[in-house]
């Protein structure tokens, strides 16, 4: 663990915190886009170590949180069918649909399997030629290349019993939607490092320029985050709005070009409904024309989807950064990880879960 320990060094962290305190002269609102960053911030207590004038709000970058309820209900319906093996990443299994989750489908006889890669699902399809194998292909630009590769392989092998329920979402349109919102308070973004390792950060320049908003590509370890915060605060204090890279060990400006080619080959850009946020134009990827035959939504006709969100759940405001999880009236009462009303309370990357798991008791004193 030496590699990661270098990015958790308490002395260096202390120095960065001192730097941030020194350069901060007024109140700033920063949004970390990715849920992985949110968890690291809350788990390490970074939000409480920052100067009072630096306010972190948490972004929409939690893939299972923004997957539309309708898609989840569709997944639940397909997963309960005889002859189907439904494969998913683990943290999707507890996300509530309108009435149930994938765990309850599994407990009532559905063949639901946790996989670590979509390529595992392709292998399951090879091993079970008499079964329909469906992979739940959700997530941001980060998970999309592996999903594209799985589809590419399935097509090469003419694996007709494999399909994917695709609901990919894209970060830059979501950042625009947040900045366009009349209630927006975000002054600078920490862009999601893993997304940028695939896509590079070329596409952020027009956003930074058009909205006058600093964007700093940022990693996930405490020192990565503090470095990203420091660079964003420096820009705000200087009145600059530039794209900067605080995660150079993983991200280049152009990103991973072979991955991008594979994505362009398999997917096409579409309008996408985001759970809790609503429709965002050209904010998702669906299967392109060459891959339509692998679309589980087409292969399995699912009708009578009648989605019902809990009226108590404010996940949308949390995902837009206009409400902190602990400001939600249901937080820790009707809504806990045990009885989640929204996906943000379930996922390893959901902001509500991060607050509940690590940050409920802020009266615990911090050491000087």
């Amino acid at each position: 663990m030496k590699y990661l320990d270098e990015f958790r060094d308490p002395d260096l962290a202390r120095r960065l915190l001192d730097d941030i305190a020194e350069i901060t002269t007024k109140h700033h609102v920063l949004m970390e886009v990715c849920g992985g960053q949110t968890h690291s911030i809350i788990r390490n207590g970074i939000d409480r170590l920052l100067p009072d004038d630096i306010e972190m709000v948490h972004g929409p970058g939690c893939p299972v949180c923004v997957t539309p309820l309708e898609t989840i209900d569709k997944a639940l319906e397909i997963a309960s069918r005889d002859g189907v093996i439904f494969c998913s990443f683990g943290d999707m299994l507890r996300v509530p649909g309108s009435e149930r989750d994938l765990f309850s489908v599994k407990s009532t006889g559905g063949d639901v399997r946790i996989v670590y890669s979509p390529l595992d699902a392709v292998q399951i399809a090879r091993d079970n030629p008499d079964r329909e194998v469906v992979f739940f292909g959700i997530g941001f630009e980060t998970t999309a290349p592996a999903n594209a590769m799985a589809l590419y392989q399935a097509k090469q092998e003419d694996l007709t019993n494999f399909s994917m329920l695709v609901s990919h979402v894209l970060v830059p349109p979501a950042m625009r939607a947040i900045l366009d919102s009349p209630t927006n308070r975000v002054e600078a973004f920490l862009a999601a490092g893993h997304v940028c390792s695939v896509m590079g950060y070329e596409e952020y320049y027009p956003i930074a320029e058009q909205y006058g908003t600093p964007i700093v590509v940022t990693g996930f370890e405490p020192l990565d985050l503090l470095q990203g915060i420091k660079m964003a605060v420096l820009q705000l204090e200087d009145g600059r709005a530039e794209v900067e890279n605080a995660y150079q060990r993983a991200v280049t400006r152009e990103g991973n070009l072979p991955a991008q080619q594979m994505l362009a080959h398999v997917f096409t850009t579409v309008d996408r409904n985001w759970r809790g946020i609503g429709a965002i134009p050209r904010s998702g990827w669906a299967l392109g024309a060459d891959y339509e035959g692998f679309d589980a939504a087409e292969r399995f006709t699912v009708t009578h989807i009648d989605t019902v969100e809990s009226p108590l759940c404010h996940a949308g405001e949390v995902l837009r950064g206009t409400l902190k999880p602990d400001q939600c009236p249901a937080f820790g009462k009707e809504c806990t990880p045990r009885t989640p009303l929204g996906a943000t309370m379930v996922s390893a990357e959901g902001a509500c879960a991060a607050y509940y798991l690590y940050g409920r008791f802020t009266e615990l004193e911090t050491t000087p």
Partner: protein
């Protein structure tokens, strides 16, 4: 002993796999007992083949039961057989008792290879001998193919309480120091890596081990030990939360002090898991009076199971009923119980 070179006792060779009759109480059952269980577990009580064992016990006993369903049955660092012995031996020992007697209940699935059962039974015998416990009674049932996962094992154990021992969660008091006997999360990640076919830079081995000898040595130091707990399912976090609630005290951990093997840490990092929530099968958490901490540490470190023993935190009279951890950056956070299993994250 491997499955390949296990030699099936001659009378059992007609059946290379378990059939329904092995649990039917007839000749096949009798052969299994006579040629497999008795030779492996052989001792006075068991060879009498009576309906129940009669034990000569004086004083208070510690009594515990556990059922083992681990999949896969064989994993790096152990198998379901030794796990079933060590697990119950440890539970009994955690009250400050000397484990003495075990019962073994087997549920076998039709079709289980006889050689696998043989290896598991011999592994149980070895583990029992190492722990110094005697298997005095048992039972075997066979279920139809598809109605079990090869083999399930229940073990129940009896230990003789050491005079004066009063070790239970309610006794944790502010000022106690909290010691773990070694690295956290080894067993859970070993199982996960083989179950899911994940390969890491080095193979992760289960820490499955009987801790009773080490615990006796700890108690022999005369240290004022208040609580002992083996952090199995739910890991260290679940055990500490249970103790904090039971004793109505706060627990404050020093996160960077919690020992984690570097391969386990890397595997957890990759899957988005926290070693504090991952199961252990050969570790103990001890709450002891602060003045006695060194004695306890020295006693633990004199055993192979305890070489990495270290202090990880203390008991407080603040945030009662809760566990908090001081992060390396100096802030504190809550360490809660998990709702269900930890799930590998999406990215």
């Amino acid at each position: 002993m491997t499955i390949e070179n296990w030699t099936c006792p001659r009378p059992l060779r007609d059946h290379p796999t378990i059939v329904m009759g092995h649990g039917g109480g007839g000749q096949l059952s009798a052969e299994l007992i006579e040629h497999l269980f008795v030779p492996a577990f052989g001792n006075g009580e068991l060879t009498e083949l009576a309906d129940a064992a009669v034990l000569d016990v004086k004083g208070s006993i510690s009594f515990s039961t556990d059922t083992f369903t681990v999949h896969p049955r064989f994993f790096p660092g152990g198998d379901i057989g030794e796990l079933a012995i060590n697990g119950t031996v440890n539970d009994v020992a955690m009250r400050g008792a000397v484990p003495r007697y075990l019962s073994v209940g087997l549920v076998l699935e039709e079709g289980l290879p006889m050689a696998e059962l043989g290896v598991i039974v011999e592994s149980m015998a070895r583990a029992a001998a190492h722990a110094g416990v005697t298997i005095v009674t048992g039972d075997t049932k066979v279920v139809d193919r598809g109605h079990g996962d090869g083999i399930y094992i229940n073990t129940t154990g009896i230990g003789i309480m050491r005079p004066g021992a009063d070790i239970r969660p309610q006794r944790a008091i502010p000022g106690d120091v909290i010691i773990v006997s070694g690295t956290m999360g080894d067993h859970g990640m070993a199982i996960m890596s083989v179950r899911e076919g994940l390969e890491f830079e080095a193979s992760i081995r289960s820490d499955s081990a009987a801790l009773n000898h080490m615990i006796i040595d700890v108690l022999d130091t005369g240290a004022d030990v208040h609580v002992l707990r083996d952090p199995t399912r739910g890991g260290l976090a679940a055990s500490l939360n249970e103790i904090a609630k039971a004793a109505d005290v706060g627990v404050l951990l020093e996160e960077s002090a919690i020992p984690v093997d570097r391969t386990v840490a890397a595997a957890c990092e990759m899957l988005g898991m926290d070693p504090m929530y991952v199961a252990n099968e050969g570790k103990v958490v001890a709450f002891v009076a602060a003045d006695d901490a060194d004695r306890v540490l020295n006693a633990m470190r004199s055993h192979p199971e305890g070489v990495n023993a270290t202090i990880i935190g203390e008991v407080t009279d603040t945030h009662r009923g809760m566990v908090a951890a001081r992060t390396p950056l100096g802030s504190t956070r809550v360490v809660d119980m998990q709702v269900g299993e930890q799930l590998p994250r999406i990215c």
